[in-house]
Symmetry: none
Subunit: 247 residues, 2 copies
């Protein structure tokens, strides 16, 4: 993971600091900097970190934003409100990609303001880009840890970008086996008088599409064909028509 | 915003319920369902909702997952661990696009398990797809509200995205109709002696998953049930055992 610094500026609630540490560690980030936290260290922080104590323990505590970003080659600032300043606004996804890109050159930082007040204009002035997380304009105030979670998640997605999506853990059966099942199905529904003479091809096409969507594997085809065999040769003496349909 | 139902299954901490309500409302979602919450309503829930009280007040409380998804045309289940079952795993972004697509046809649900234990296999069986949020494998346990936040964020991105949402080319039948088909199938394969006494539940679970993957629409369920009826009451005089299996 790129070494992206998560910088919380004057966080008010220690619980949020802990939740941020957890959110970071979940996504593989570990570099936390606290600018003038109201209360830290604190028990609530450890409780909400839920195992990310190492991130809290390694957190740097500094006096102001200037100290937090002194060695950074790139800084982005999260902001709920539109600012009048001429910074390129990035959404969370663009910001993640941009941060990961710059992280190849040196330390990069991502600023989050205090819960109630956000970042001051002077603090935003340290940033090269503004980050706006898409929210409902009618209820725009994200919890601090939630904002950190979304950005750290996007950073992880950005890093994994090229990684192929995990394959489902089942292997659809080869077409030949699937087609043998279809042939068997057609025979059975003909035997029981379901496949009438009017639109047999159309009905079989519908059934083909339905079962193809299910993408059965070999084992599942075996089960289905077992059912078809049992229709053809019921195991126990057939009791005649079964009970009422359980519609 | 599409009407996507966020379903918390047996949530343990009321604070998390409140945080989830806030996360939802931030992203423009409002439909919260609680399955057997340990403690609700609760003051901590309102406190952490931080203004999303309306989402809490409108939350439906139901007894089990079955009731929560009864009318859903599509259900996705979040899961931290890999499951051995053959459901297509989606990452959070794919899941959001898929949910938004199906939401055009009817109610869709997104299941989140209890904080400590997650969803049971039986609960996951209600889902058409598994959602896995990318996390660091060494610290994979996301806070419940954090998981809800990420998915709701991706749903908002999906809605706002320029990328066209894939339109499912058919409308899956509601769960209730699907479950009636399963009941009918179970009766028929019992009648013909296929569902033996040894592992009947396991076999039915496999068949459930197989047919759920196929996502049948109303018309297809009618065809399948027509076949089951024909097995129970063959139309022409049954000719006895049909020819050899066309293996």
């Amino acid at each position: 993971m790129p070494d992206i610094r998560i910088i919380l500026v004057r966080p008010q609630h220690p619980g949020n600091i802990g939740a941020c540490a957890r959110a970071m560690k979940n996504m593989g980030l570990k570099n936390l900097v606290l600018v003038a936290p109201q209360r830290f260290p604190a028990e609530e922080a450890v409780a909400r970190a839920a195992g990310a104590d190492d991130v809290l323990a390694a957190a740097a505590v500094v006096a102001d934003v200037s100290a937090a970003v002194a060695d950074c080659v790139f800084v982005a600032a999260t902001s709920a409100r539109a600012r009048t300043i001429a910074l390129p606004p990035l959404d969370a996804r663009e910001a993640a990609a941009t941060l990961c890109g710059h992280a190849r050159s040196g330390p990069v930082g991502l600023l989050f303001g205090a819960e109630r007040t956000g970042l001051t204009n002077e603090e935003v002035d340290y940033a090269h880009a503004l980050v706006q997380i898409p929210v409902d304009p009618g209820f725009a105030s994200l919890n601090l840890a939630a904002a950190v979670q979304i950005l750290c998640y996007e950073i992880r997605c950005s890093v994994q970008g090229a990684v192929p999506i995990p394959q489902p853990d089942h292997r659809p059966a080869p077409q030949e086996a699937f087609n043998r099942f279809l042939g068997h199905l057609e025979q059975v529904i003909t035997d029981i008088g379901f496949l009438n003479e009017r639109h047999p091809r159309k009905l079989m096409r519908r059934l083909t599409r339905l079962f193809r969507r299910a993408h059965p594997d070999d084992n599942e085809l075996q089960i289905l064909r077992g059912i078809l065999n049992a229709v053809q040769h019921p195991y126990p003496p057939r009791k005649g028509a079964s009970g009422p349909d359980n519609t």
